[in-house]
Symmetry: C2
Subunit: 199 residues, 2 copies
């Protein structure tokens, strides 16, 4: 079995975005592939009863401060969109629509969506926006907008979310390597150590 | 004003315990003092509506796995006590009772309490246990058991918890340096960078 990093994230997660700017380099360092797996954190929150960080008293203020500090330390631009948190069903469907054709194209689209949301502060929720961002990234925007309405694409996302939950994924970002779970941007160093030395 | 690290923690927090094994070395590295400030996470949870990690579906399993992995990477022993999470009012009061006499003695007692709970898996909640652990650490156990019943000691802890909350402390461990807040064991690297380079 080929070793790989499963990289789970929600498109509305700033820490997921920050991880997305680092994960490919980590995979390349160890010569293993990264499987990008967007899912819907909202579906998980229904199970865990957890509330989005930004909406929790005390934690919310810290969250906005910490994400900016972490972005600064990474040298990565970060703008939290005016509408936040935002729905990511359209982005996720676009990703899996694309992945059926080419995993590389799907990752390129994911990066374009993350960049639009968290570097440019755009609202990536409306289907027209997803189409526009896809078009800017060199894809056929109309085909994306049409494709994500297809029942099999909706079904595909549903299965992906169910599988993520069945594997114990409850946050974003979340990494699984050799069956070992790692939660959070700040576990990338432990992922790195795991890939170097195993358990 | 002397620069210092405010180190907030709950005695029932494994990540607080792990941080307690590292924080003095970090302070020493930068030649600044660490002010240990135990507080009651339960009081904060009443404000944030947050539930202890260990009790959250999906998160709970991960929590037990992650704390062990993190302890292993640090080379620190970790045993989660049978009764967990546990009450820490007695430990906190003993700490502040001791601190009025000597901050160094209070830190030594805190380390003994953490060690008893998370290295030996003992129940440190009952006042008799706090007395016994204090005695083992070279203190007068009877004086500790009597002292923590004093109204002014109870009042002192109450004030400390209120002050922690007023400073935005909502988790354990939590560090404040130059007014800058850092939440979590995995922010020690950012505390380190902050102390080296400032903002």
């Amino acid at each position: 079995m080929t070793r790989q990093i499963d990289f789970y994230f929600d498109f509305s997660s700033p820490y997921g975005y920050l991880a997305s700017t680092q994960i490919d380099a980590l995979g390349a360092k160890h010569g293993i592939s990264v499987r990008w797996r967007p899912f819907l954190l909202g579906a998980v929150f229904k199970i865990t009863g957890v509330v989005p960080l930004a909406l929790v008293p005390l934690k919310g203020d810290y969250f906005f401060h910490d994400t900016q500090r972490s972005a600064r330390l990474l040298g990565v631009p970060l703008t939290i969109p005016a509408q936040f948190p935002f729905g990511t069903v359209t982005s996720c469907r676009a990703f899996y629509l694309m992945q059926d054709e080419s995993p590389e194209a799907a990752v390129r689209l994911a990066k374009a969506l993350f960049h639009a949301a968290f570097a440019e502060g755009r609202d990536i929720c409306p289907v027209e926006q997803v189409g526009a961002i896809a078009e800017e990234a060199g894809f056929d925007g109309d085909a994306v907008m049409t494709g994500i309405q297809r029942p099999e694409v909706k079904e595909r996302l549903k299965r992906e979310v169910e599988e993520a939950i069945s594997r114990g994924v409850f946050g974003s970002p979340f990494f699984i390597v050799d069956g070992e779970p790692f939660w959070g941007m700040d576990r990338l160093d432990q992922v790195d150590q795991w890939l170097s030395h195993g358990g």
